[in-house]
């Protein structure tokens, strides 16, 4: 048979058409796609066994218990510790991505001096020289740690001063310190025993205090109930996350919180809803109504609602003496379910003075410290990046992440997440004392030193962090009080030796004092305080002390619009 050109063309066309109905081209296309999608440079996780360890988050002062999954010596996942009696397994959303922070593109990777590259020996020499030439001021963000003790020792030995910047929760307790002789470091909010909580803009369900503490309690006692066991009244100008989930949301004019608190106190006293305690505020109910945007009837109704279910605890978003005074009128100071004194400090390994050093020295503790006559200022990594010391002194700024422009002369890379040993004293808002040790679970990804480590290397007479922690563990054992919550729950009195107690603490256990009757706390209010306008942060994540949000958190928040974060944190 003769094959013509036409036959050849027909056969070719038929073969081409027939091939399309076979799997061959599609398989080839699929394989090419898969091959081109799996480039060798695409990272794949290490195939290694997972080890689970326990530690504590030290990115903010609340020290939540962490269960960390480790692979090949690196953290690969974070979850809460259900045995922790304070957090009960809950964490803030940022903690779940915190293990990636150590590789954040904005991680401080080297010593920098006025924009140029420098080195640790040069920084060491510069700080040694500066501290010998004049006063050194050391600024801390999380007081009470072993590292804080080192910072304070160094400052005082060199004739300088040690200062602390407090967070909003601690500042909210300041008025009670003024009206009593009890340092605010020994005070806390007994949220668990309150029946009504009146929040003046405090983000109670959005990261306030120890993030999991109140949210867990609220979920059990209040969520979705029409007549809840715990009544959460949110007084706030906007419908925040806490307001959205509260039992009652009272929308007021922003900045009128103090006036409304005074107006509520006046109604409570005049209508004899509570026994008379303290002075009557000068603000009338109509003044409060005019200022807050509510009606007088609404304020009276609100006062009756608050008085109906007590203990009722008023909480401010920041320092606000008028709201603190409302608690005195409500009889919610020094009682269960109110503002409580945690201990008398004779059963806590960290003295109150160490946790609260500024209040005993001068009045500059609470605001931005004014620094005059200093030769050097050392800013610890625990101080929020936004803090800029007003000084002409040489500034040594420790930080794990670079938050953007800085006025510091020296930028010094500090340990990141779980990269160094530290201890965790009681959180600022806690109702009971606690103590924990956060072991370093991973090696630093860059050459880092903490402020305390550098100061110890300058002055070898300072007690090291390790020794201070050792001493504190021994003190807990010596007192034989409280309970240790680790893999098992054990009263300290049943632990055989100080070494065993320290070993458990260094492996992620937490020590808690007995939740006994609150220690005596008497506040004397001679006149109604001035009506301050408290600052209010619109978003808790924006107020996070660490300069950077975890990359996954910032990515997901921006992709979902769930939260707005400052632009500098979105990188």
């Amino acid at each position: 048979m003769k094959v013509t050109r036409r036959d050849l063309l027909v056969w070719s066309a038929g073969a081409a058409a027939g091939l399309l109905v076979t799997p061959v081209p599609w398989k080839v296309l699929d394989d090419v796609s898969i091959w081109s999608q799996n480039w060798p440079w695409i990272p794949q996780p290490a195939r290694v066994p997972i080890e689970v360890k326990q530690s504590f988050c030290t990115l903010c002062p609340n020290g939540c218990g962490l269960r960390v999954r480790m692979a090949a010596g690196w953290p690969v996942g974070v979850a809460g510790v259900t045995m922790n009696p304070i957090t009960r397994g809950a964490l803030c959303p940022l903690a779940f991505g915190a293990h990636q922070l150590n590789w954040h593109p904005r991680r401080m990777r080297g010593v920098r001096y006025r924009g140029g590259i420098s080195s640790w020996p040069e920084a060491h020499a510069a700080l040694t020289k500066a501290s010998e030439e004049g006063r050194t001021v050391v600024i801390d963000g999380y007081p009470g740690r072993a590292a804080s003790s080192v910072l304070e020792q160094f400052a005082l030995k060199r004739g300088g001063s040690y200062r602390v910047l407090f967070g909003a929760e601690a500042r909210g307790l300041r008025p009670y310190e003024t009206w009593s002789d009890v340092p605010a470091s020994s005070l806390g909010y007994d949220l668990e025993n309150a029946k009504t909580i009146v929040s003046f803009g405090a983000p109670l369900l959005d990261g306030w205090g120890v993030p999991g503490r109140f949210t867990r309690w609220w979920a059990e006692r209040a969520a979705g109930a029409e007549d809840p066991q715990l009544r959460l009244i949110q007084i706030e100008s906007s419908l925040s996350r806490t307001a959205a989930r509260s039992w009652k949301w009272i929308s007021i004019v922003e900045g009128s919180e103090s006036t409304l608190a005074a107006g509520l106190a006046r109604v409570l006293i005049e209508q004899k809803l509570v026994p008379a305690r303290g002075p009557i505020p000068a603000v009338t109910v109509s003044d409060a109504a005019k200022r807050s945007g509510l009606t007088t009837d609404q304020i009276q109704e609100l006062a009756r609602t608050i008085a109906a279910e007590r203990p009722a605890l008023a909480i401010s978003s920041d320092e606000n003496p008028s709201i603190a005074a409302l608690n005195i009128v409500l009889g919610s100071v020094g009682v269960s379910g109110g503002i409580v004194r945690r201990t008398k400090n004779d059963r806590y390994p960290v003295p109150a003075e160490a946790r609260y050093p500024m209040s005993r020295k001068d009045g500059e503790t609470w605001g931005t410290p004014t620094i005059s006559g200093a030769r050097a200022v050392v800013v610890d990594a625990s101080v929020p990046w936004d803090f800029v010391p007003e000084t002409d002194a040489e500034v040594f700024r420790f930080a794990a992440w670079d938050g953007g422009s800085s006025k510091a002369d020296w930028l010094l890379p500090a340990p990141g997440f779980l990269e160094d040993l530290t201890d965790v004293p009681s959180p600022p808002s806690a109702a009971v004392e606690s103590y924990a040790v956060a072991p370093a679970l991973t090696k630093p990804t860059v050459d880092v030193r903490s402020a305390a480590q550098l100061l110890v290397s300058i002055d070898s007479s300072l007690t090291s962090i390790d020794n201070i922690i050792h001493g504190r563990c021994a003190e807990i054992f010596r007192q034989r009080a409280g309970t240790l919550y680790g893999r098992e729950i054990a009263p300290v009195a049943q632990i055989a030796s100080a070494e065993k107690l320290e070993e458990q603490l260094r492996n992620g256990a937490v020590w808690i004092t007995e939740s006994a009757k609150p220690a005596a706390l008497r506040c004397e209010l001679k006149e109604w305080p001035s009506l301050a306008v408290a600052s209010q942060d619109p978003d808790w994540a924006a107020a996070w002390p660490v300069a950077m949000l975890p990359p996954l958190a910032s990515k997901l928040y921006s992709e979902s619009s769930l939260r707005e974060a400052p632009a500098r944190r979105n990188s």
Partner: protein, 249 residues
């Protein structure tokens, strides 16, 4: 006996913190780069902010976590996939997505009534060194495939391995908990076997105020929601992508 894993999410407990989203992404090795938008991002668990549409003091808001609903009946994504890259696991009821089979046609994304599927537009990437933080139990998915919630299937595998090592045929129910459930600080997400009448989730799925999204289309989702707010329950029958009623975030 085959299981039917599912969830009951108590919307009245959800504070919209986003812990579930971050924990899910960390568990499943969602890449941090590149930055995407609400349309192009990968959010297997997405918390949406919804409101009653009113303003002022009458306004009420809630948060609804949206994930793959693991539809039991006429699963839309399974029906349309030309590659058999999606299937309902008979042993668990989990709707599985197999990226190795996926052609990237995105029919499943179009078919999904819950907008719970996401396309990988880019090669997965992390900042230098961050690949050390990846979860060893979960493979990184390649560019050009669709992905979604698989109820942390790697955790189910791990639980099975532990059970086998202990000489047991069945896993301990407390040993298999998806990352979002573990992370929720208010305990709003309850997970369990909907086929087991002794499981608390089975009971809860039959309690008052429970509803499912778009129940009228008959796909029998295994993710249930719970709310005492009538306006929240009313939203369940509307289109979840309707921006007038439900905003992102």
């Amino acid at each position: 006996m085959s299981a039917r894993y599912g969830m009951v999410i108590d919307i009245d407990r959800c504070t919209g913190c986003g812990s579930c989203m971050v924990a899910c992404a960390a568990e499943n090795n969602v890449p941090t780069l590149p930055k995407a938008t609400a349309r192009t991002g990968l959010t297997p668990m997405l918390v949406r902010r919804v409101s009653n549409g009113r303003e002022g003091n009458a306004r009420r808001e809630s948060f609804i976590p949206i994930l793959c609903m693991h539809c039991e009946h006429d699963t839309p994504c399974v029906e349309v996939c030309p590659q058999q890259a999606v299937e309902v696991d008979k042993a668990t009821g989990i709707v599985m997505q197999m990226p190795q089979r996926c052609l990237g046609c995105r029919y499943c994304m179009t078919a999904c009534p819950y907008h719970a599927r996401y396309f990988n537009w880019w090669d997965p990437a992390w900042p230098a060194g961050m690949e050390k933080s990846l979860n060893p139990g979960v493979s990184v998915r390649m560019r050009g495939v669709v992905e979604k919630c698989n109820l942390c299937h790697a955790r189910l595998h791990a639980a099975k391995e532990r059970a086998a090592a202990a000489g047991k045929k069945e896993i301990d129910p407390t040993d298999y908990v998806p990352a979002c459930v573990e992370a929720c600080p208010t305990g709003a997400i309850h997970f369990g076997n909907l086929a087991d009448s002794n499981d608390p989730v089975w009971q809860e799925a039959r309690s008052p105020h429970v509803f499912r999204l778009l129940a009228r289309i008959g796909t029998e989702p295994k993710v249930y929601y719970k709310s005492k707010e009538p306006w929240v329950r009313a939203l369940a029958e509307s289109n979840t992508g309707n921006e007038a009623e439900a905003q992102h975030g």
